[in-house]
């Protein structure tokens, strides 16, 4: 598919409650014109290629107990067994046993595990993409300790190579690779936005300073939909008196290469941010309120780079927490009750569980925790690129009702999170259900309550 085709077949819908591209008609999507047999072979080769000891251990360990279903929002919301997390990997388990496991020769010789077909992979596209946010809640329930979410990530590598990605997710990833941002936030757009935001808000926003101690990055969702986050970031970094800047050669923290399963694109996207930070001689890269951006850079960035990063990487909530605890960040008391939605990739899978709570404590807010919270929090249903996939909307709305109930049960006045992808999922859910709760940004809450100096 040519670039023009992508842009005309999947135009960006920037005025919708959430950003996405036009809804494709088919139930499953294919990219390119590879013959079916080659698709299957490619998918499996790239799936198996990524296998190390860790993934093999997981593939060997499942005892088919089905407990993972009970942790998955898509299963719990629908009770449809096909949404059982480990079932989402069934063709890949089949391929692993036949092609790569310790007894692969026996499985092949006796044809005990059949060859995976393209029809199977087409059917599984929905399970691997539409109905898995890679939130990893299932990992916490598995009695064998299998990290199912990471296996779905590997399966996506194979599906991507075979051209079997939902069109919207693929088109958004392609656009990110081509333009530097999935949602049209090109370097020029970003720079222009920073300029008018600086004028409108009378705040100094540094862009392209050649040298700085701190580099801040943004997610395209914030740049295009929640630009107040840019202002908030600038206000806080200025409040702290830091030598900081945005860089137009590395500002986009989202990584749709990773979400769609394209390792090469993932690497290129990460390297832009890494090289920009190194070019500025910065000692700290602050990642924005974006869940998967944290996983992509904080935990995978150095591995993409091939050696340890020469700078620290912090999620904005960790950065705010450090400065709250040190006393450098001074805020006015909020005096309201609120509840906090843990973004899966930052909290459960990223390890920054307490940071936002330290920030909220500093704000003097009364935090009312949801019933299942912190590491066991229910996912909003929009992570892992799912919010991008229109055909997944009905399923996502079902899962979102779990979240709404959780929030309503707290009775808190405010609802806060620190992930713009969660935020747009909440905004979309609020719009769909005419819900009375609006998701707020932790970053903006802090910026709005800074003590005057």
């Amino acid at each position: 598919m040519s670039t023009a085709d992508i842009d005309s077949k999947h135009p960006l819908e920037l005025d919708q409650p959430r950003f996405s591209v036009k809804n494709p008609e088919q139930r499953y999507d294919k990219q390119g014109d590879m013959p079916d047999a080659q698709r299957v072979e490619t998918a499996m080769r790239h799936f198996v290629k990524d296998f190390g000891a860790v993934a093999a251990t997981y593939m060997e360990s499942c005892i088919h107990c089905g407990m993972c279903a009970e942790a998955c929002h898509f299963y719990v919301a629908t009770e449809d067994p096909k949404y059982t997390p480990i079932w989402k990997l069934e063709p890949f388990k089949q391929a692993y046993k036949r092609e790569a496991g310790p007894f692969a020769a026996i499985y092949r010789a006796l044809n005990l595990k059949k060859k995976v077909t393209v029809e199977q992979l087409e059917e599984w596209q929905e399970l691997i993409y539409d109905s898995c946010t890679m939130c990893g809640r299932c990992t916490l329930i598995c009695p064998m300790g299998i990290d199912i979410a990471s296996l779905v990530g590997l399966a996506r590598h194979g599906m991507n190579k075979a051209g079997l990605v939902p069109h919207e997710l693929w088109a958004v990833a392609e656009r990110a690779e081509r333009e530097g941002s999935p949602l049209g936030a090109t370097p020029k757009v970003f720079k222009d936005r920073c300029e008018w935001l600086a004028d409108d808000n009378e705040v100094e926003i540094f862009v392209d300073k050649p040298q700085a101690d701190v580099i801040a990055a943004m997610s395209s969702i914030e740049i295009m939909k929640y630009p107040d986050s840019i202002v908030a970031t600038a206000k806080i970094l200025n409040h702290l008196g830091l030598n900081w800047t945005f860089r137009t050669d590395g500002y986009e923290a989202t990584n749709f290469g990773m979400l769609s399963g394209n390792s090469e694109w993932q690497k290129e996207m990460s390297l832009k941010l890494i090289n920009a930070t190194i070019a500025a001689g910065a000692k700290l890269l602050i990642l924005p309120e974006c869940g998967h951006a944290y996983g992509a850079m904080r935990w995978q960035g150095a591995n993409v780079y091939g050696k340890p990063l020469p700078f620290r990487v912090l999620h904005i909530s960790e950065f705010l927490a450090e400065n709250t605890k040190s006393g450098a960040l001074k805020t006015k008391p909020l005096g309201k009750t609120l509840t906090f939605h843990d973004p899966c990739q930052v909290s459960r899978r990223g390890g920054a569980v307490e940071a936002p709570r330290d920030v909220l404590d500093g704000l003097g807010a009364e935090l009312i925790e949801m019933q299942d919270t912190k590491g066991v929090n229910w996912c909003c249903g929009g992570g892992g690129g799912v919010v991008t996939i229109h055909r997944a909307d009905p399923l996502r709305y079902k899962a979102f009702q779990i979240k709404m109930k959780q929030v309503d049960d707290t009775g808190a006045e405010l609802l806060v999170s620190s992930c713009s992808n969660c935020r747009q999922t909440f905004d979309d859910g609020q719009d769909h259900f005419h819900w009375d709760k609006t998701m707020l940004s932790l970053l903006e809450l802090v910026a709005d309550n800074l003590e005057d100096k």
Partner: protein
């Protein structure tokens, strides 16, 4: 050579050899695969405490998951404990292990063994019923699940029949019991029964990786 001699002799020896070779092959086939270096800055410098922690704590569900998993887990625990009591608490079994290893330990009263055996069989039947009726488990299940169930329950049933002298001559019943154990040993490395070893590797792997990141375990 009569059936009992065959069961005690070549059948058990070969089954044991396949068991050891198969276990080693499968475990080495996994453990010898490459492990990629992780260059990310760890949140916690040592990751092995996470491995230990997950190996221990994942033995029971987190509070949040309890209501939805309590039944399946309880039945699972019952038959696992039942098997341990029967296998390691019954006097003739201890004699068999002593002849193999030289190790000795006190046995449990026969009444305890019989009751445990009966409870184990009942629990295993419930487990099978659940696998056949629970939509999630039914979808996931394959030959391995049903055959592993079969080779697990058969030695318990044949053992109970042997001690009760029910259905045939004692020597025949004992031979069938030993042959059922040979079948269990032969199947062990190839199917899900391997979870008895893999559980430590799999839990430990996730525990260590997640501890490094400070992720929830």
């Amino acid at each position: 050579m009569d059936l009992l001699q065959f069961a005690r002799g070549p059948a058990l020896t070969w089954a044991f050899a396949i068991f050891v070779f198969g276990m080693s092959w499968r475990l080495l086939g996994i453990l010898l695969l490459k492990r990629r270096p992780d260059y990310s800055e760890p949140r916690h410098a040592t990751s092995w405490p996470g491995a230990i922690k997950l190996i221990i704590t994942r033995s029971w569900p987190r509070r949040e998951f309890r209501p939805r998993t309590v039944f399946g887990l309880s039945v699972g625990y019952i038959f696992h404990f039942g098997l341990v009591i029967v296998v390691f608490g019954f006097a003739p079994h201890i004699m068999f292990f002593r002849s193999l290893t030289g190790l000795d330990w006190p046995n449990l009263p026969n009444a305890v063994i019989y009751i445990s055996g009966a409870i184990t069989i009942a629990a295993l039947i419930i487990v099978l019923g659940r696998r056949l009726t629970n939509p999630v488990m039914r979808l996931l299940s394959n030959f391995d699940d049903y055959f592993s169930w079969f080779v697990t329950i058969t030695p318990v049933v044949t053992g109970m029949l042997a001690v009760a002298h029910l259905g045939a001559r004692y020597e025949t019943l004992l031979a069938v019991h030993i042959l059922s154990i040979a079948l269990l040993l032969v199947w062990f490395p190839f199917g899900k029964l391997m979870h008895s070893a893999l559980i430590f590797i799999s839990r430990g792997t996730t525990g260590a990786l997640f501890e490094r990141k400070g992720a929830s375990i």
